[in-house]
Amino acid sequence: MSKLLEVEDLRVSFPTRTGLVQAVRGVSFSLGKERLGIVGESGSGKSQTGRAIMGLTAETAQITAKKLDFNGIDLLKASPAQRRAMRGKRIAMILQDPKYSLNPVMTIGRQIVEALRAHERIGGAEARRRALEMLAAVQIRDPERVFNLYPHEVSGGMGQRAMIAMMLVAGPELLIADEPTSALDVTVQLEVLGILNRLVAERGMGLIFVSHDLRLVSSFCDRVIVMYAGRIVEELPASRLAQAEHPYTRGLLNCMPKIGADRHPLPVLDRKPEWAL
């Protein structure tokens, strides 16, 4: 399988008043046209890994890597203009909560059209047609109506579908989904995941699925990376999650309640300082 993305020894750190905070500390992985899950708790560096690949890290951050390579393009050497041209067109990102990630004073249709016209020189009618097509592709039943709605006028699930439409409309090869379903109701989660899954498969995209939900990731992805304190502590095929070896992963799996079994109290993580080394 050809490599879409290669990351070697990625480090992201932020200078603060109290010294350098290292959010990502030497992460390495590679990705083909597959679904890779990155799991970890808050502050484990999973989101910052995704943002570093997008080129959306805060300006003050220092990013280093031995290799940060997308389809033969060295992302660290690319100019800001080159990276901007790639964002949305070749690498796109879905954010967590459509309530905040869609511009409240712009109709959904305009936001999708705008994403398309940032990368392609096409007329308004053509852009509108493609946006409507995309809305239909994310299984919105009445695209014409939703096109003219404002984000506050749609439900969370509908908003997240619009977000997916907006990010996929320019046809990216790699999609980074940063907790794409965490803000949604459980029933809607499955719907949105189904749509995402189908589109990723149909279009042959690579997917990085960032989440804190171990079980969701393992059922949805081909491969899982477990991050802790800015490092990868374990990488394994999703199907073999049950055979995880690292004590952190094992501990996490152990914390989950089981249907039918009465486990009181639920076990909690017993963190070992050496995990964070």
Binding site: M54, L56, R84, A85, M86, R87, G88, K89, A92, M93, L95, Q96, D97, Y100, S101, L102, N103, P104, V105, M106, E114, A115, A118, H119, Y150, H152, E153, M163, M166, M167, A170
Partner: protein, 355 residues
């Protein structure tokens, strides 16, 4: 379209019409209440609190029966609630009484002086908006840089320097020393007999008359006080723009806009400012209203024949009808501007629109 669908959409249209009627009704209630409040306050300040208006007319040596007669003629012997009723009735028919000082009806005086104030405040606000918003955006985008510091210092000066001092200084430098602008007043005496006001807004009148010499002269007169007022409004607007923009630039939809690959320019002006513009409407409206009522000092320094100067002169001569009339006009304009900003707010922010 099926029968039930037609019925449904008719029902929806009816519901919408009802919602619009309700919002107009509540709008009217607010206007009427605010206006009555304004009238009550001005009435009691003007009639109940200060010196005896009869005294101002007949002088302090008039015999008692003259004073009583005048008091009766003016209706001042009536109970307050009747006086208030008559007063409201007069105001509603545009009758503010007669000015003791100019012997004109107050309404005529105000019609003459108010356009001067409004023209000055409008040009000042335009200057404040044209410079304040870009400066505020710049400061927010380059937060912490030297550009941000400079904008903040400019704003700080605008906040803290007294306008009469800056006005005199500006007159001294740009009029007396450099001769770049015209001096006090609205228009040169040369044009007194050739220039015919139409709307009372002289810049507009000059354009309508195609009198370009007058236009140049009027512009040379207004530019200094308007720039000064504009500077004060700039100080306020740029500060607020900066803080609204900083707030918007930290929102998630900005990250999403970047993830789409939009240019920074489009993100800043098309997305962030479009959102920051919603609360900015209120700020600009308040600043405009502030210039309308608060240009008293500027008008005094520049001998600008506007409402501020008129009220000041009337106040010094105990001409209460004129003072009250002027106050009511300013209050009405204040209410109108606030309502207008509410309407604009609704137009800019889809979340506040009635559906």
């Amino acid at each position: 379209m099926s029968h039930t669908e037609t019925q449904q959409s008719a029902g929806r249209a009816k519901g919408r019409a009802y919602a619009i009627a309700a919002s107009i009704a509540s709008f009217l209630v607010i206007v009427v209440t605010t206006y009555l409040g304004l009238l009550a306050v001005t009435f009691f300040i003007g009639r109940v609190v200060p010196i005896d208006p009869v005294l101002a007319i007949v002088g302090d040596r008039a015999p008692a029966h003259v004073m009583d007669r005048v008091r009766e003629e003016m209706g001042l012997n009536l109970p307050y609630y009747q006086q208030f009723f008559l007063y409201v009735k007069g105001v509603l028919s545009g009758d503010f009484g007669t000015s003791v000082l100019t012997t004109n009806p107050v309404m005529t005086d105000i019609r003459r002086v108010f356009p001067a104030t409004m023209e000055l405040a409008t040009v000042g606000t335009l200057i404040g908006v044209a410079f304040g918003i870009p400066l505020g955006v710049l400061a927010a985008v380059k937060r912490g840089s030297w550009a941000d510091q400079i904008v903040r210092v400019i704003g700080l000066f605008g906040y803290s320097i007294p306008i009469f001092w800056l006005g005199l200084l500006a007159l001294l430098v740009f009029y007396a020393r450099l001769g770049w602008t015209a001096g006090p007043g609205r228009i040169d005496v040369v044009f007194e007999y050739t220039f015919t006001p139409i709307t009372g807004f002289y810049l507009l009148d000059a354009v309508l008359n195609r009198d370009w010499a007058a236009f140049r002269d009027i512009f040379a007169h207004i530019i200094l006080p308007a720039t000064l007022l504009g500077y004060f409004s700039l100080a306020y607007i740029s500060r607020m723009t900066r803080s609204f923009m900083l707030n918007e630039l930290h929102q998630e939809y900005i990250v999403a806009a970047r993830a789409k690959g939009l240019s920074e320019r489009r993100i800043i002006w098309g997305h962030a400012l479009r959102n920051a513009g919603v609360p900015l409407i209120t700020v600009i409206a308040l600043s405009y209203a502030g210039l309308l009522e608060g240009s008293v000092l500027t008008e005094s320094v520049f001998a600008w024949p506007g409402l501020g100067l008129y009220i000041t002169n009337s106040l010094q001569n105990a001409d209460m009808n004129a003072v009250l009339g002027g106050t009511i006009v300013i209050g009405s304009v204040f209410i109108a501007i606030n309502l207008l900003s509410d309407v604009l707010y609704r137009m800019l922010d889809p979340r506040t629109r009635a559906r």
